[in-house]
Symmetry: C2
Subunit: 402 residues, 2 copies
Amino acid sequence: MSYQTSVAQDSLAAAQLEMAGNPNSIALRRPFDPVAHDLEASFRLTRFADLKGRSCKVPQDVLGKLVESLQQDYSQADQDQFMHVAIPRIGIGLDCSVTPLRHGGLCLVQTTDFFYPLVDDPYMMGKIACANVLSDLYAMGVTECDNMLMLLGVSTKMTEKERDVVIPLIMRGFKDSALEAGTSVTGGQTVINPWCTIGGVATTICQPNEYIVPDNAVMGDVLVLTKPLGTQVAVNAHQWLDQPERWNRIKLVVSEEDVRKAYHRAMDSMSRLNRIAARLMHKYNAHGSTDVTGFGLLGHAQNLASHQKNEVSFVIHNLPVIAKMAAVAKACGNMFQLLQGHAPETSGGLLICLPREQAAAYCKDIEKQEGYQAWIIGIVEKGNRTARIIDKPRVIEVPAKD
Amino acid sequence: MSYQTSVAQDSLAAAQLEMAGNPNSIALRRPFDPVAHDLEASFRLTRFADLKGRSCKVPQDVLGKLVESLQQDYSQADQDQFMHVAIPRIGIGLDCSVTPLRHGGLCLVQTTDFFYPLVDDPYMMGKIACANVLSDLYAMGVTECDNMLMLLGVSTKMTEKERDVVIPLIMRGFKDSALEAGTSVTGGQTVINPWCTIGGVATTICQPNEYIVPDNAVMGDVLVLTKPLGTQVAVNAHQWLDQPERWNRIKLVVSEEDVRKAYHRAMDSMSRLNRIAARLMHKYNAHGSTDVTGFGLLGHAQNLASHQKNEVSFVIHNLPVIAKMAAVAKACGNMFQLLQGHAPETSGGLLICLPREQAAAYCKDIEKQEGYQAWIIGIVEKGNRTARIIDKPRVIEVPAKD
């Protein structure tokens, strides 16, 4: 046991080297090197799930159907408890739950998410998973998380050695991200599973004024997006560097260097917390928000639209996309559905309804505080609670951070 | 979609028939009939995971090793936050976490668990999964749960039809059990996975006097167990009815009728909430408790012993076992390790340290309220925080409930 533990320690040391002094700077982070961790050079974390780079979620319509049979028999008593928040109790898109508590006007705001490895760096995978779980709280404008649980599935196909190296790195990444968010991991569950899984639960107990019920969009609002699209395209393109027949499909539109830059931009983006974006929602009077993940920009926009109190619709004009990834998506035909708004994202940005006169200031403030752009991508008009992307949306190329 | 939904509705109707009027009476419950749900007669929920009837947990020693590298670098700030509860923050055995909150002296008590199908009745599987998640709260003496999340993995190997029949039944069972516990399911996550998985999260926000820190056993206490052992043995034996080569190994010691009774006893036991057991812990001044699940009676006893403030050890003399299952376990050689205390249980009973003079009254009270026996199975003596079973423990045969 002491030998195995010391391997894990060496591995953590290697991980620290990879961070190159500044744990928050992805730009400076070296690529994950399996050999430095005493693993085979061919080790790829993403091999431990067949769904890598695709959404692991049950399709939106299927989930709706499965949940439907439950919804209809919720009793009136149940309904009362949730009357003031128009949020489904089973995680369809807007997957934070809000529960009034027995104690002094407080509410329990809670979310859970888990998925499969989509990058090969275990430490970064842990950070991304944690940021992704927290993102559901941030989408509700909640900025303080009281605790997190970590849910891990160790793949049955991992060797003991791989497990002893990789799992502590994932845990470390998850925990570091939680610390960055001002919270900590207080428990969890680790099971054996064919696929490697990673996820968690985030919980906040707060006053009702700490969260923003996302149902208040009004005509004339604009839509702001806080992270670029294309994370999954970038992750896939990066994997194709090793697969000549795939690479041949896209090499006319993108260079190897472009892909590596996009991949690092994607990792940086997916591991970035939406916390400041959430904090600024209060400052600039946001009318509602959702985070963009497995159902793609349009899927989440439609879901948010369907929950509005007012008769409004969302129209999206601009698509900020990680540089070159729109070209890659086009070269792949309909596979990604990126420009149609259906490409799944992991730990994507917040899509926020803001009063028109506040939106520019919101974007400027987030850039000042974090050094990242946000974009006005659409408008809220009168309508029947749906969302669409205009025929020829403008694609905004978002360069890799230097 | 409407067609599929109506199938699910028929299926729920069939489930209601199976409950035969009294949803809480397992004795009256008919066996799950796939054909009544419009599935193939050969459909078995337990085929959707390779680990059925075995623990899905990562072995205790491996988990300890994986977690070790994290524990050591928890900062002092972290420690302070948890100083008053000697509970590991990563779920090793005692897997409730307790987090002090920002608001008025309240604490967040939380637990998560998930596993794979081990019975073929989807509705019962949902109930068992829910009871199993809640059990960690009950082990801490917490009787009120504020909300639950449901975590579901839909097997990639299920047909659409199977999925549309089975998943709503599992959800229904889970939800019914939550209602029985006085709480409700406010959210969750559903993903696609090779194996079918089912689990959840249970959360309570409470005053510190609502939970019992399980570290206060004293010399002279006795150990009480509130459910019989042998659930996994019964589940396996029942599956072997379909497998002649396995059945031949045990048919000399057990009849088919015995096995069916034991299986129903096990389902009844696994789906029973430990809530009254938890409530009575307060009335009879329990000094600590744990629930018996994946690591077996001795594994959990050892874990509880290791967390004691006083220099005590646990000695177990009696093993209450579902009728005939001790014989089955013996006929299978060392496979189950039942009498050695290592057979995994699912949603097992509470193992409670009680003052000697209160224990009999505790057992009598639980029987009066629930109609189920509890047993004094051991003693707390001076020692070095370990637990053991005596050489020839007395096996108590616990009959199936009529």
